[in-house]
Every structure is written in C-alpha cells, then in structure tokens.
C-alpha cells in the first residue's frame, strides 16, 4: 500500500500489508505494532470552513496520549472521523490497522466517549448498556461488570435522565469499556466532574494505558493533561503543532529565565550585559535574566563580589509552553480594545 507523504515522497506502509489483514480476520492473535490509532493526511472542511487540515499523527499503546488544542482546533472533528461518524474530506483515519467499521467487532477495538449522557433519558443505564453490547454480541455479564467498574450499581436500573453530570460521565465511560477495547478515546472526560471523579478518571486512564491499551484523551486544559499524559498531540486550527513526549515538550520552552534579586542591580546589569543576554527589571533590585543559566549568574556575581539575595531559575510550565505553541491558533481571545484590524 503506497500513500503519498506530506513532502510528496511515497511512503511504503508495509506493516499493514495484505497478509496481516488476513491474519487478523481469522485469528484471535494480534499484531502488536498494529494496535494504534493512525491519522494520515486527514482533512475535513464544511463549505469554506476548514476544520481539520492535513493532520497526520499516530497514537501508540502503553501510554496516555493527550490530544490538546484550543477550542475550535478540530479535536472533536478529528475524533469523529476516527470513529467513522464524519466522512473525511481527504486522508484516512484507522484504528488498529483499518477503518473502525471494517473490524468484526468495533466495540472490541475502540471504546469512545464523545459526549456525556448520549442516553435516552427514560431508559435505564443497564438497558442502555445492554442495547449497545448486544450489537457486538457482548454478554450481559460484561454489562454488569462495567457497571460495577464505574461504580453505578446503585442506580443502574433507574432511568438515566435523573443522572448527575458525573454519573452520566461514568455511564459514558462504562459504554466505552463494554468491549474491553484495545483502544480508548475520550473527549474532554473530566468536564463537569467533581474532584473525586477527576481523580478516578486519572487513575482509570493510567491503568488502561499500563495494560497496554492505546489511550487518547482530548482536552483544552494542559494543566489537567500534564497530570496523566506522557505524550501530547497538539493541534491548532486543524493543523498539527507538535507530537511529542512530555520531556520533549518541556525541552521546547523558549522562555527559560532566571530571577535575580541583588543589592546592586546596576553593577550586576553591567556585569551580565553582553550579546545574547536579555535583562529586564520591573521591580527595583530585581532582574529577570534570559540567556544565562543561574549557575553562570551566581558564579559571575561571586567573582565580582556582588551580593545576591535570590537566584531563581524559572522553567516554563507545560501550560506556558502549550499557550506559547498554540498562541497563533487561538480562535477566540479576549479583546485588547485596539480597534478592529483590517
């Protein structure tokens, strides 16, 4: 199978050759490197609006991957295309080697939570799960299992219309886990959850990943994602901005600075002020130095016998790095009241 890569060079995609597809059809054993979500040159436009624009990334098993981007970046649209709900304008999205609907039992490959409470309000949680499970031949015993897993035993036979947001979210996660899927994809799962629910979801996501599953979780909050995800796919305006590990993301900070409080700011400024070093001062006797490490500043001050009261390296948080990366892609930003740009 040959596809044209971004640079126009043909990519040979040998790992999903015909023989592997056939094997997967007949045998229950799986090809390990096939267990992932692959998005390839994926685009989606609605009329003249481009929601997703040539997106290519791969989500691998074993870790939680955070899918990040500002509101309107195209996260939900991408997820809907992965699930086969929206038809891509171009490109492909595959789950474990093929389109989701081409699998014998889609629920065993992919469990997804797109919106909370996609449930008939007059149907009980148990019947809702039974109906979904029935399509793939998942037994009712598994329905009871997932109800217990998400802690809804007490309310499983009540109509779901009376559920709180948190209970609805748990029901959604129960339905995602019905098929004991290899791949799990959750869209903003912590939205509206209480602190206990958030903790529960964090633990669940990490457990699922540690069992070797592929876990993709979308969020527009880096602070939340930083606690669970080890990899990040960051998009903005439908385009890929970064596909990195958390360590690599931290290394991308361009804004490492050192805060220095000193007895003699003027002397220190003169001492450090060379090419490539940027020094700012908002408060008397406090300097913000960019371009030098705290070690270098401390050593120089000591040599010049300038007393330092404080020497604090400031490393940009993942949140700040995320904000910086997506700055140009933010669709709606609070105005600065400078009039409307032409």
């Amino acid at each position: 199978m040959v596809a044209i890569g971004r640079s126009g060079v043909p990519l040979l995609r040998t790992q999903y050759g015909k023989s592997l597809r056939l094997e997967d059809d007949t045998a229950t054993t799986r090809v390990h490197n096939g267990l992932m979500i692959e998005v390839e040159s994926l685009s989606k436009s609605y009329g003249s609006t481009i929601a997703v624009d040539g997106l290519t990334f791969t989500v691998r098993p074993g870790v939680v991957t955070g899918f990040l981007g500002p509101n309107g970046a195209g996260k939900s649209t991408t997820m809907r295309m992965i699930l086969g709900l929206d038809r891509p304008s171009a490109g492909t999205a595959t789950v474990n080697g093929r389109r989701l609907c081409e699998h014998r039992a889609p629920l065993a490959q992919m469990g997804a939570l797109l919106e909370a409470q996609a449930v008939h309000p007059k149907r009980s949680a148990r019947n809702h799960l039974r109906a979904l499970a029935a399509t793939n031949g998942i037994p009712d015993s598994r329905v009871d299992e997932v109800i217990e897993l998400v802690g809804l035993e007490e309310v499983a036979d009540r109509s779901s219309g009376g559920f709180s947001l948190g209970m609805g979210q748990r029901l959604g996660i129960a339905s995602a886990l019905l098929g004991d899927p290899e791949t799990i994809m959750l869209d903003e799962p912590v939205n509206g959850l209480d602190p206990e629910g958030i903790l529960w979801i964090r633990g669940l996501l990490k457990d699922l990943a540690s069992e070797g599953r592929t876990v993709l979780v979308s969020s527009h909050l880096m602070t939340e994602m930083a606690l669970v995800a080890e990899r990040f796919v960051i998009i903005g305006k439908g385009r890929l901005i970064a596909d990195v590990t958390s360590v690599e993301l931290e290394a991308m900070a361009s804004d490492d600075s050192v805060r220095v409080r000193t007895a003699d700011a003027t002397a220190l400024r003169e001492l450090l002020g060379t090419d490539g070093v940027e020094i700012a001062s908002a408060v008397p006797n406090v300097l913000t130095v960019r371009g030098l490490t705290s070690d270098a500043i401390g050593m120089a001050a000591s040599t010049a016998r300038i007393a330092l009261y404080e020497l604090t390296p400031h490393q940009a948080s993942l949140e700040e790095i995320f904000m910086e990366l997506t700055h140009d892609a933010v669709q709606y930003r609070a105005g600065t009241h400078q009039g409307i740009a032409a």
Binding site: R80, L85, C101, Q117, R123, A134, G137
Partner: protein
C-alpha cells in the same frame, strides 16, 4: 488577502509499542445482534410501550363506541359495519407514525445515534434493524387491536346495514390491509426520522402528507391531478382499507402496491441519507 505561514510540526521519535493481548474471538457484529439491540431499545422505554398500548386501546374503544347506537339516519347509514368497527384505527395509524418517528429522532436528539453507529459495521444495518423491529412490533400489536376492534364492533353493532362477518367477501382483505397499511405508516415515520432527524419536522411532514395533502390535491384544476391524488399514500391506503373502493380510488391490489412503493422508496432515501451524511 493574507498569507499564513504554517510552522513545520514538531514530531518526536516513536516510543516502542507495548504488547497487549485480549481475546475477543467471540465478539462480532451480526444482523441478528443489531436487531436484538434495537429490540432492547424499543422495549426498555416506558413511553414507547405506553404509546403502543394507547394505539391499540383507542382502536378497540372507538370500535365499540362507533358501532353502538348506529340507528340509521345521519352519515353513519352509508357506512358498512366493517368500516365503522375499524374507523378508530385512523387514530392508531397516526400514533404509530409518531412512534416510528420518535424511535429514530430520540437517538438524534440525545446523541445516542453516534454510539449506535460506531458500534456497528454498516449504518444500513441500523436502519434495517430499526425497521424490522418496529414493523414487527406494530404488526403484532395492531393485528391484535384490529381483530379485537372487529369483534367488539360486531358485538355492539346496531345499524341498519347488514352485519359483515369474516366469511363475507373482502372482509379479511380489509382487516389485513388495514394492519399492513398501519405498519407502512410506522415505517414512513422511521424513514422520515432518519431523513429529517428532528421529531417536529418529521411529524409535521408525516401529518401533512397523510391528512392535508390529499384534501388539497383534490382542489387542483388539472385533469391529471386525479391520478396524482390516487397514488398519494393515504388514498392508496384507503383503496386497501375499503370494502368496495369508489371510482376515485385505485383497486385494492394497486393500492397495496403503491403503498409498498412509497414505503420502500422512503426507506431507500433514508438509507442514502444515513450513509452519506455525517452523523
């Protein structure tokens, strides 16, 4: 016009995949399982069960009321005893049509349709399963209701027209035809639900087609409008449900074929829409 510079995405080296092994050998989507799923959905909502019950109940109760106190004079004198007994099924048909819409539109309004579609292999299997489950349920419920209405009507009939029994010519055909036409109206509802997604729009179109359009079509001045009027679903249905159709109606057989064509046509349109549109 502005040009935008898109920075090259930063892509990290891949991490080694971790093996996972879970056995899902017995899991598979089949047509029967999707039907089973739709059956669970239909029977697990109280308001749907009550809707079917109301549709049946009203047919039987009205049969008793219409057939009794039928003492000549008035418009009732011209109506045969069979039509009188089955008149209540006109309301049954509207209720069934609405239920057909609702089993689909409620999935769209709640978002459940997206969970449904991502769990199956073919979207059309959902349309087929919903149609099969709804048509079968309607056939059973309305079949019982129509028979009950017939016998209740017979028991209470006091009119001047001769009383018709099952052995009289055309009676069984009208009974079966009425039940099947009701199933057809239910499937209209299902198809309109998939086509229009919203309950208000789908029920509006359903009622307009069944109740208003036939009356208006008769007002058209052109001669060919007569044949147009004949093939409207409600008039074609009347041909099936009337003991001796008047000259403005099709023959019972043609009527049945026209109703069937409407049902199949709308379901095909619904299938095309379901397959091609984003969910």
């Amino acid at each position: 016009m502005t040009t935008t510079v898109h920075p090259r995405p930063i892509v990290a080296s891949p991490s080694p995949p971790v093996p996972a092994a879970r056995s899902h050998s017995d899991l598979q989507v089949t047509e029967r399982r999707v039907i089973r799923s739709e059956w669970i959905k239909l029977r697990s909502v109280l308001s749907l069960r009550l809707g079917f019950l109301a549709a049946a109940f009203i047919a039987v109760v009205l049969a008793g009321i219409f057939a009794s106190s039928g003492d000549g004079g008035g418009p009732k004198a011209a109506i045969d005893s069979l039509s009188l007994s089955l008149a209540g099924l006109r309301i049954t048909q509207l209720i069934i049509g609405v239920l057909g819409v609702v089993v689909v539109s409620s999935e769209y309004s709640t978002g459940l349709i997206r969970s449904t579609l991502q769990s199956v292999r073919s979207r059309l299997s959902v349309l087929r399963a919903k149609s099969v489950v709804f048509a079968t349920s309607t056939f059973v419920v309305v079949g019982i209701a129509a028979c009950a209405a017939f016998f209740v009507g017979k028991a209470t009939y006091g009119g001047i027209q001769p009383e018709l029994g099952l052995s009289d010519p055309g009676v069984v055909r009208v009974l079966v035809g009425t039940v099947l036409y009701t199933v057809g109206v239910g499937l209209f509802g299902v198809a309109l639900g998939f086509l229009l997604r919203g309950a208000a729009a789908a029920i509006g179109v359903l009622f307009a087609t069944l109740l208003i359009v036939p009356a208006l079509a008769g007002l058209l001045p052109w001669s060919w409008a007569t044949s147009l009027t004949e093939v409207l679903p409600s008039n074609a249905g009347d041909a099936v449900m009337t003991l001796s159709p008047s000259s403005t109606l099709l023959s019972p057989t043609s009527g049945a074929i026209v109703v069937a064509l409407w049902v199949v046509g709308l379901l095909v349109l619904a299938g095309v829409a379901l397959r091609s549109r984003d969910a």
